[in-house]
């Protein structure tokens, strides 16, 4: 490891232990203070790793709660990278860390067959044996990826342009949300460019211990983003985890690459839209029949990776400005899924335990649907509550666009 984070900013106040959802759910996990800064001192001395390191979900609640700015989750992820260099992670972790690559390999197979292949009971039993819990809500492949669909979208001829980074979840599993985002950005007066050269942000690779793969993705992406930055175009994403990866994690994990390409930040698309509303570029007045829609009650879940960005909750703010829509903030902490964490056999029950408070809040809210920016949070909410969960832009489109 070329870079190390100094653990001595930690004063052992235990605030992170209080706010760690995994430590709350299981005493098998030593907790962020111990696994992060405290154990880092042992690591620097070359002493053995604690066996509970793998329980860290990289949800970032330690980073959010730390009063001294100690990047606890990064300490944990770097330790995991070291560990995985010595002991290669298994096939299960490779599969969960490389969703985008798998989708590319399987591109020529029709989605129905892929889903039949992946989600049928026999395969689920095989995946279960591999370590992907058979109860977990593995999402289904979309018939066509978002990028494939984008080639057929006819956009209005707008002068201003914006680059949209869909993220793997939208691209592979949930292209409809991507199309809703394109609609919203068009409405804000921007023509949307979806570049082919951008790849997975690398967060699932880091979380599953594939540091080198994450590094090569980072280099690839930062190089591509630098071109758009230099062309003066804003780059936005609707996925909080991708945004956090580019804004905070990559410069911390790979400072040399970050330095080489300069700051290449991904902006939050919801904040971008909110700014457009405030500038008068984006109208929240409903078109045509949409103005006669019945009132809608929603419950909003703030993804941890959004809370970690220090930008507040612009998606919630957008929803709250919609006529005829009431949105309650669930404010019930982490949903438990943390990307691929909650799919793992030894973590599934922990993830459900973490999400229990949110599930109860959503079920008791009486809301017609749940809303969250993060794709896997939505999967987990649907799994835990049976209630439909959507991205805020999908709500915007449903309420405003009825042509």
């Amino acid at each position: 490891m070329s870079v190390r984070i100094n653990p001595d900013k930690c004063i052992a106040c235990t605030t992170c232990v209080v706010h760690c959802p995994v430590a709350e759910a299981t005493p098998k996990f030593l907790g962020p203070r111990m696994i992060g800064p405290a154990y880092e001192r042992f690591r620097l001395l070359g002493l053995a790793e604690d066996p509970s390191l793998h329980y860290c979900a990289n949800c970032k609640n330690c980073d959010i709660s730390c009063p001294h700015g100690v990047p606890v989750s990064s300490l944990n992820m770097m330790a995991r990278a070291d560990q995985c260099r010595a002991h290669k992670p298994g096939l299960r972790d490779w599969v969960l860390g490389h969703g985008e690559l798998m989708a590319k390999w399987l591109r020529l197979i029709p989605a129905s067959l892929k889903n039949l292949g992946m989600l049928n009971p026999v395969t689920r039993m095989a995946l279960d044996a591999l370590g992907i819990d058979k109860r977990s809500p593995l999402p289904a492949f979309a018939r066509h990826s978002f990028r494939q669909l984008m080639r057929h979208v006819h956009q209005p001829d707008l002068e201003r342009r914006v680059v949209f980074y869909p993220g793997c979840y939208v691209d592979v599993y949930d292209p409809r949300t991507g199309l809703d985002m394109v609609w919203a950005l068009n409405r804000a007066g921007y023509k949307v460019i979806v570049p082919d050269e951008l790849v997975c942000c690398g967060l699932p690779m880091v979380a599953n211990g594939f540091w080198q793969n994450a590094r090569s993705n980072a280099e690839h992406n930062l190089k591509a983003l630098a071109q758009w930055r230099d062309a003066g175009l804003p780059v936005v994403t609707g996925c909080p985890s991708c945004a956090l990866m580019f804004r905070v994690d990559l410069p911390e994990y790979f400072p040399d690459i970050a330095q080489k390409y300069g700051a290449c930040r991904l902006a939050d698309a919801q904040e971008f839209l909110l700014d457009a509303v405030d500038n008068g570029d984006f109208s929240l007045a409903a078109d045509g029949k949409a103005s006669q829609l019945p009132d809608l009650r929603l419950i909003y879940h703030a993804p941890c990776h959004l809370r970690a960005q220090g930008n507040g909750l612009p998606g919630l703010e957008l929803l709250r400005r919609l006529e005829g829509v009431t949105t309650e903030n669930a404010d019930a902490g982490c949903c438990g899924i943390s990307g691929s964490y909650g799919f793992k056999k030894e973590k599934y029950d922990i993830a459900q335990e973490i999400g229990a408070e949110l599930f109860a809040r959503v079920r008791e809210s009486g809301a017609q649907a749940a809303v969250s920016e993060c794709g896997t949070c939505r999967v987990q909410i649907m799994h835990g509550t049976g209630k439909y969960a959507l991205h805020p832009v999908s709500i915007l489109r449903q309420r405003l666009d009825m042509r």
């Binding site: 235990t14 605030t15 209080v18 706010h19 709660s65 405030d278 220090g310 909750l313």
Partner: protein
Amino acid sequence: MSRIVDVVVVGSGMAGLVAALVAARQGRSVRLLTSGMGSLAISGGSVDFLGYAEGRFAANPWQSLALLPEEHPYRLLGVENVRAAFDFFSQTMEEQHWPMHAATAEDGSPRNTQLPTIMGTLKPTYLLPSGLDAQAMATARRVLVLSVQGLRDCRPALVISQLRRYRSWADKEFAHSLLPSPFGETHRAVTALDLARLADKPQSRQWLLDALAAHAGSCDLVLLPPLCGSKANPEVWRAINAAAGCPVVEMLSIPPGVGGLRLRDALLRALNQHDFELVENTTVLRAETAGKTCTTLVADASGQERRHTAHAFVGATGGILGGGIWLEPGKATESAFGIDIAVPQDVAQWSEPEIFGRHLFSHLGVRVDRAMRPVDAAAAVRWNNVFFAGRSLGGYDFATEKSGHGVAVATGWQAGRMAAAAAAGGENQ
């Protein structure tokens, strides 16, 4: 972050939450910026007011206020304002179904309570959760001190041997016991918080009720580490007192702070009923000012600068450990607004040889007027719409006075109220 709000509060400890709530209650839109989660996650569940004045125990803290130096925040506010602030806090807790009360002396006047700690020492504190019966500590003859197997922080035998040194506890009959751990063998050392969280849920609360019931009838008072739930839920306390068959008193403990989480829970619940927005994980970098007015705070948000424009601002950023005050050799600065705090060049003068002495570092902070507006060396107000609260203020030493939460409540109330008024004035202009 383009929306202009009435009041921006910086800091989510006791002072920041109280200031935000006071302003929100007056109908102002409030945005709270926080870096970390504030001190309530690591503090106890009672509210200290003033335990010691001039180094002596303050039986009735209201009477001891006059002994404080003039620059002390309580003196700046005056007794009536401090009383109004405590009334506001008590009323809020009542509304959130977590009533708090002060113990009373024989003549009915409020008094401090000497609450045992897990080290067997006594600490004066003022507002107690209503489930805690302070009188029982005076009248109980037989005291049972309990801890839980695997809870390394609390040793009942130590608690007893230490408590016996105090006259008020010396004559009591003590017994002690370790409750079986509901977790069994664990990889991590169990904390009071782990146990308190079990007590939050009805299905996992039963182990504690059963364990207490096994000792019922053997004592008049049970001393426990703080494990009676991490939420402001009175039902847990009722069940626990009923199971023990006698009053249960939680001892004050070390972090993680179970009791403080209950206060945080109640305050956030109250705030979420208003036009309130919480922006987490952001650090204020600087203030933009025009003459006597602050217009905007610029904050770091994951490597980018974000502007927070408002009509009024409250700084409740904490002290040296909380990040509200930066120290360098020969220099102390308030971190959000960059206010210079006067300190001697020679750092040797910042502390005293006597550990419980009056250290400069423990009471240095922002100097304010009665409205909590920061003032310069000539006592002139710096900005008309900026107010400070909590440990970022100078003039008091919470550790030796035992006044931390109390000063936070009182100054948070004043700062929130003044910010609400300034915001209303700002809008009219």
